[in-house]
């Protein structure tokens, strides 16, 4: 039976999964654009301008999808989760408010100048606008991750008459998991954008685009990926330790640990079984989970059975974690090895280019998997220890929710297809047009 609660959960999951794809790209892509623009200002070499012009179009498209899906998100709180704002609105409200005030307006306004104003303002003002847009996207991430982290590890509040009141805003904003989550997300964005740039640049090279710009963006993006991927593993580890401290039930689900144990093994593969409350088909490395999480061979890891009424669904968390880590390891290997090849040979082999094209959206997969681990791992709570999911849900009839869900899902699928196709179509077009036919082009974006 599909009830309002289940449908609302699916709808929110669909909305946020769709939404997060686009900020994940734009947060870091904005800084890539800043880099290209500053390089151009300094060197006046047209190749940097070409790199900027190509990627600013992708940025605009990605940003637009982020905006429209973000507006949808902002209505979801009222339409589907009224209990959330009624209970924790005193905390969530100001954080969301600061996001709109300090980030949304700034990025949206300067985006206009950045996209269409290059001939109307001085180069300095234009570069400044690009920087402001980048600051805006990062600030937006700051506030939204602060709220999300607070929902995971709430501090700085008291409950009066069933409603949450803030007591210490500093503790609310800089709650225990916030620094780790923010760093993890910013790096995820850096890697997503880097692999996207590498993938699309490789695609252009494979299509016979022998201009400088795709070679240059390939090099820049691989350099960034090679720097960020290992760093991400390090930060991810810190984030895991933080989660282990504050949300042990989530870590237990990630590791597939049912009974509290010392010297827990690291499971390379297993199928968690919620009926028998154990794992089937385990492939394990003895003691490694304990070593990673407690830095002791026989460190204790609390099992899921310690949390009888607060166990998250194990399978999605367990597998989500493995997908994220697997994808992360693949990204480290590819980034380091390909960057090394590029340094040695000054070019990549066709199979390497093809691999990068195939990995264009690897950041999306890792980010979504990680996002599911952290969000599903918080279940059954919406705000850890404070608000359970079912307490927050709307009273709207389930048929209405079903209708809206179908509408959103179908439109999201179509948009995702249109987005990816347009991305590569833009790359195709740049192969044919740019530089070959009209050397110093003034390409009208609206023709």
């Amino acid at each position: 039976m599909l009830d309002t609660l289940l449908l609302s959960r699916i709808q929110f999951a669909a909305n946020i999964s769709f939404h997060i794809l686009f900020p994940t790209i734009t947060i870091a892509l904005a800084w890539f654009l800043v880099f290209f623009k500053i390089k151009y200002d300094k060197t006046q070499h047209p190749v940097w301008l070409r790199a900027y012009r190509f990627w600013v179009k992708i940025f605009a498209l990605t940003f637009a999808l982020g905006v429209v899906s973000g507006i949808t998100m902002s209505f979801q709180f009222g339409t589907n989760w009224p209990g959330f704002m009624e209970k924790v609105g005193n905390i969530a409200g100001p954080l969301l408010g600061y996001e709109v005030l300090t980030a949304f307006f700034m990025e949206a306004t300067f985006l206009g100048v950045m996209l269409f104003g290059m001939k109307r303002v001085s180069p300095r003002v234009h570069t400044l606008s690009t920087i402001i847009v980048a600051i805006g996207t990062s600030l937006s991430a700051f506030w939204i991750l602060s709220l999300n982290s607070w929902m995971q590890t709430p501090t700085g509040f008291e409950v009066r008459d069933g409603v949450v009141f803030p007591t210490d805003w500093f503790a609310v904003i800089f709650n225990p998991s916030f620094p780790y989550r923010l760093a993890h997300m910013i790096l995820a964005s850096g890697l997503t954008a880097a692999f996207l740039i590498a993938g699309v640049s490789s695609y252009r090279l494979l299509k016979g685009d022998d201009k400088k710009a795709p070679q240059l963006t390939l090099k820049v993006s691989l350099t960034v990926a090679a720097l960020l991927a290992p760093l991400q593993m390090f930060v991810g580890d810190l984030h895991g330790l933080n989660t282990f401290e504050h949300q042990p039930q989530k870590v237990a689900a990630m590791e597939g640990v049912w009974e509290t144990q010392r010297g827990a093994p690291l499971l390379l593969f297993a199928i968690p079984n919620e009926q028998t409350r154990s794992n089937d088909f385990e492939i394990a490395i003895p003691n490694l989970a304990s070593i990673i999480l407690t830095h002791e061979k026989n460190g204790e890891i609390k099992g899921l059975n310690e949390f009888p009424n607060a166990t998250p669904p194990v399978k999605p968390v367990f597998f989500g974690f493995r997908v994220m880590v697997g994808m992360g390891l693949l990204m480290i290997v590819v980034a380091l090895y390909f960057r090394f090849t590029l340094w040695r040979n000054n070019t990549l082999a066709p199979w390497q280019l093809k691999t990068l094209v195939a990995m264009s959206f690897s950041g999306w997969i890792a980010t979504l998997a990680g996002w599911y681990v952290t969000e599903i791992g918080r279940q059954p709570f919406l705000v850890t220890g404070v608000l359970r999911v079912e307490e927050a849900v709307t009273h709207v009839a389930s048929n209405n929710v079903l209708m809206s869900l179908i509408a959103y899902l179908s439109i999201y699928v179509l948009l995702l297809i249109a987005y990816i196709r347009t991305l590569f179509y833009t790359a195709d077009k740049s192969v044919e047009v740019e530089e070959f036919q009209r050397p110093s082009i003034e390409e009208n974006a609206y023709v």
């Binding site: 100001p94 005030l101 609206y446």
Partner: protein, 332 residues
């Protein structure tokens, strides 16, 4: 800093400001979408170029308005949005289609461009109609009677006409040549439709809402508020005359229709405010009953005091950068 009563007032005013700015700013760019010709691509390009640098920031005022309701009056926010679940969903779908069509049309294959143009137009019409429809239901206290729905549909058509009016006025200001002449006749047509809409809604509203009737016709300050409808009427007539004039001399006072439509929007908005204040959910919840915790609102207010003037300043900057007649947009 402030106690609850003052905060209610401050946040209600801020919300009103955000809604008014949204209606004017996104109003004109939705209006441009509503008017978009499907058989004249160069004109469509110019029209979209005229709103290109602005639409995104314009739409942010909606996020702020909804955000402020969420932050300051969470109970009202959830009552309203649950009551309007379906129309909100349809409006959001309209906004999504329109927002992405704007970007896709410029980057997709040539043969797909006219499809995205049509979607841009359809999305704009859906969003505008649904906003008016929701306004109508709000005024009718979310009843689901046939009368309420009919009134909401009327109000939806009224808002489409009003947005088309301000959109056309924007185009008169920003374009030249044949397109400007077209915009003048669009403006003329939508002025008359919007006028009918305003008259109809103003007549029906007090008849079916007893409290609104009392507000307007039995109040002590009757003479003070009487100028609102009178000035509004006068402005419609003036606008009509100016448009006739503009047809022969398009650039003599091309900014007047936009200015007048802004004032008409402001007056109508104050009319609605006056009808319902201090209720945030008509007949059910006042701004004083629905308020969130003062410590939260005070905390946000620091930001508001610093940031809102900054937003207004850089918004002005962006309008100055793109001042004058529209030029083809290029990512340059």
């Amino acid at each position: 800093m402030f106690e609850a009563h003052t905060l209610s007032f401050i946040y209600a005013s801020l919300m009103a400001l955000a809604i008014l700015l949204y209606a004017i700013l996104d109003g004109y760019d939705l209006g441009v979408g509503i008017l978009l010709p499907t058989n004249n691509e160069p004109h469509a390009d110019t029209m979209i170029a005229s709103i290109g640098p602005f639409w995104d920031a314009n739409e942010t005022w909606l996020v702020l308005a909804v955000g402020l309701a969420l932050i300051a009056f969470p109970l009202a926010h959830s009552m309203i949005l649950q009551a309007l679940y379906i129309p909100v969903t349809v409006m959001l779908i309209g906004l999504i289609i329109r927002g992405v069509a704007f970007d896709f049309r410029a980057k997709a294959k040539i043969k797909r461009k006219s499809m995205w143009n049509k979607l841009f137009k359809i999305g704009s019409i859906i969003s505008a109609f649904m906003q008016g429809y929701m306004l109508g239901l709000y005024v009718m206290s979310f009843e689901s009677s046939a009368l309420a729905v009919t009134f909401a549909i009327l109000s939806g058509v009224g808002v489409v006409a009003a947005y088309a009016l301000i959109g056309a006025a924007w185009l008169i200001l920003k374009t030249q040549g044949q397109l400007q002449l077209d915009a003048i006749s669009w403006c003329h047509m939508s002025t008359r439709m919007a006028f009918l809409g305003v008259v109809a809604v103003s007549a029906v509203n007090p008849v079916i809402n007893h409290s609104v009737y009392e507000r307007w016709f039995t109040s002590d300050i009757f003479l003070l508020i009487l100028p609102i409808p009178i000035i509004c009427l006068a402005l419609f007539i003036l606008l009509d005359r100016i448009l006739v004039q503009l047809k022969s001399q398009p650039d003599l006072g091309a900014w007047l229709p936009f200015l007048i439509s802004c004032v008409i929007f402001i007056l109508c908005f104050f009319g609605i405010l006056y009808s319902f204040y201090p209720y945030v959910v008509p007949g059910k919840l006042t701004i004083f009953e629905a308020l969130a915790a003062p410590e939260s609102l005070n905390f946000l207010l620091y930001g508001v005091i610093v940031v809102v003037p900054t937003i207004l300043a850089y918004t002005a900057f962006s309008y100055r950068v793109f001042w004058g007649k529209v030029q083809p947009l290029s990512y340059y």
